[in-house]
Symmetry: C2
Subunit: 153 residues, 2 copies
Amino acid sequence: MDCSIARTLEVVGDWWTLLIVRDVSLGFGRFDDFQRRLGIATNVLAARLDWLVEHGVLERHPYQDNPPRHEYRLTDKGVDLGSVLFALRTWGDKWEADAGPRTVTVHDTCGHRTDLRLVCTHCGERLRRGETHVEAAPAGAEPAWVGEGRPAG
Amino acid sequence: MDCSIARTLEVVGDWWTLLIVRDVSLGFGRFDDFQRRLGIATNVLAARLDWLVEHGVLERHPYQDNPPRHEYRLTDKGVDLGSVLFALRTWGDKWEADAGPRTVTVHDTCGHRTDLRLVCTHCGERLRRGETHVEAAPAGAEPAWVGEGRPAG
């Protein structure tokens, strides 16, 4: 399907896949971590990890030689899923968490809590709910990632 | 699972579900639209639409009496998924769209294209990839949605 949302969902559009990415972003990167935290069957977990490595979202790094063990880390492509996780978390905090948020996002540079706030890259104003629409890109449109790191290759 | 990402995925963590929300946000709201655009089996489609109505993401609005027909529209809760779709679209444009983006997001207020840009709600600076972390919320933390509309009830 010729749509970037559909393509993204092809890679991460699975409950377990995004929860694995979430766990790695929280600092858990070992097979046992995922199994304990997600309660996922080992064969399903192994398949999802292979998938994420194959699609360049995670990388394996050895942390022990004998027996050989590795942990999973996010690639740049994986770290870029942070905005997807942030948006999912914010929506859940707002609409599905009666007891209030269990976590907060902290901006490392200033040291304070930040919530999800989108601003227009043209005028700088805050983008509020329902104030944008999507339309066909003009021919030769630059991708959105200019200025924030190009994918390799 | 006591995590807002997991809760969000419970509601929308299905390939078809998010693509239906995408289509409604693009202005397609009828059963035939979804079937044509998504190529989805009618029983699966009907079940997903019921699910989204039941969970308050979509509402049914009659548009014809004889025979009775209705179309689907986003609720406020559904419109709030816009940031999730925007993040998914941006990631796909960057990492999975070799031919460049097929769509652009336009800020209705200023009339120009905008890309996904997050800023810190405390210091106002741009949040760049990997410059945030997630930690346990302090007791009694306010949810992130203060100022952008409270869920009813």
